[in-house]
Amino acid sequence: MQIKLENVSHTYMPGTPFETRALIDINLTIEQGEYLAIIGQTGSGKSTLVQHLNGLLKPTSGRILIDGKEVDKTAYREIRRRVGLIFQFPEQQLFAETVFEDVAFGPKNLGLPEAEVRRRVENAMLLVGLDPQELGDRSPFTLSGGQMRRIAMAGVLAMEPEVLILDEPAAGLDPRGKKEILDQIDRLHREEGLTVVLVSHSMEDVASRAKHLLVLVDGRQKMYGTPAEVFRDGQELAEMGLGLPQMCLLMHKLRAAGKDVPTDIFTVEDARDAILKMLGVPQT
């Protein structure tokens, strides 16, 4: 499915002294198979933006088209089934007595038959790397934070959405847990063919993974493009208070020192290769 935002703005509590313009004039198209990362500082409107993508928030002005059709009230149920949204700190939404029941909440709300619910729950738990046999009957509240987060993710995956939106899925995890979650998301994108929208405030996490980046600053869309395009100009990003990924920064510095290296380098491996090439060392 294709999700298209046309001049979308959102204002919280309009007409009160607490009025906040959280989004201003956003234009964006998310194609089938996309891997989009939304980046911005805290308060820049990332969470507000993604809640528009499955109809939890309605734009104050502008419109949202799904497969070319404007979303109306009757379609929200359908859209929430097709667009799965995993909130920031999703472990806070767990409620059921057992892990199985919690993950089954979504599929049951869809009115699926028992056997299909079971299949989906087990499948979703495997997708996030949890063993349904071992954990299915445990209380979610007895598990570790990282496990709870995976269960919450499984709860959304069990709805078998076409688009998966994750709001800061790696927030508050240790480096290893972070890498595991992000790798899992990559795999869902690659192997299950899910369209992915990933919210993050860390360039490092997303630069090497996403196809496109959207940079939000104070509710406005400041940059949009492939990682290579967005990171071409390091100066501009730094001015927005968003740093470059380490390796990209290194390349920019080398270039500034007069070396001939590309700047669209985001991983240590690529950086090594680029530097070796620059030094003229033959590579195996």
């Binding site: 009160t16 929430r80 909130f87 806070q92 939404q93 059921a96 979504g106 709860g155 959304v156």
Partner: protein, 267 residues
């Protein structure tokens, strides 16, 4: 989906008006006296005087009118309900309308509007207090008034502290309910349709996480307070001492005068 945050009834708005600067204790007493006045008044002239007083304060308080009245929205239903009850069930005076066995009497209409007026005055004047007084100042004032009770063994400081904490966490809880509700809606939960029993059942996915996080928060707060050596009211000093000025005494005196005038002249 901003249902919770749109309930702004009595939510404090910082400002610099006369009402904002008055001592919370003076405001409390003045409001109490004013409420007595609302119940003493029994002529429309009396209400006119009260209306002039209230609107003067409302206009000088610096609170945007749209915000003020939006916050009162839930009260409109109570007013409508009161009016209808009186119109249909209070008997007396002349019969104005006959609908089968039911009648609408003139006294019912009179009393209905009377009650609605009282509700308006009550709500508007109390909102003026809460809109112009920070929750902390309010509980400080309450603690002050409860102090004599502590000689009788009432834990005045603790009660005030509990109220401060409760008030402090209302917005947090609302934010959190909204977030959890949205998260469950993203999983196909439906909080809006179905019969009463189903709706109550559908609240489980909202209430359980809310309780879990409230207990966690309470725990964290208790630890944080203990880590800073909190041990109740004994010997505790304050960062902001309440300081009554002549202006505050004047405010209370004026409120008292209003009552005296109303009682004396039988307005």
């Amino acid at each position: 989906m901003n249902m919770f945050r749109s309930i702004t009834i009595g939510q404090y708005l910082p400002g610099d008006s006369l009402l904002h600067r008055l001592d919370p204790r003076a405001k409390f007493i003045a409001l109490l006296l004013f409420i007595v006045a609302i119940f003493l008044v029994n002529t429309y002239w009396g209400y006119l005087i009260l209306a002039v007083i209230v609107t003067t304060f409302l206009f000088t308080s610096g609170i945007p009118l749209s915000y003020f009245f939006r916050g009162l929205r839930p009260v409109y239903y109570i007013m409508l309900f009161t009016l209808l009850i009186h119109i249909f069930f209070t008997k007396g005076g002349s019969v104005l309308l006959r609908l089968g066995p039911a009648t609408i009497d003139s006294y019912g209409i009179y009393l209905g509007f009377y009650m609605v007026l009282r509700i308006i005055f009550l709500v508007v004047s109390t909102s003026l207090l809460t809109l112009t007084t920070s929750p902390i100042a309010l509980t400080d004032a309450l603690e002050y008034f409860m102090k004599p009770l502590s000689y009788l063994g009432v834990p005045a400081h603790e009660i005030a502290m509990m109220m401060t904490i409760a008030l402090r966490f209302i917005p947090t809880l609302m934010e959190e309910s909204e977030k959890i509700m949205k998260a469950q809606m993203a999983r196909g939960a439906d909080f809006e349709s179905g019969n009463i029993i189903n709706r109550a059942k559908n609240l489980v996915p909202l209430l359980v996480p809310l309780f879990v996080s409230s207990f966690r928060r309470a725990d964290e707060l208790a630890i944080a307070m203990e880590a800073r050596c909190y041990r109740g009211g004994m010997g505790r000093t304050r960062l902001r001492e309440l300081q009554a000025t002549p202006r505050d005494f004047l405010a209370v005196a004026v409120a008292g005068l209003i009552i005296a005038v109303i009682a004396g002249t039988g307005l």
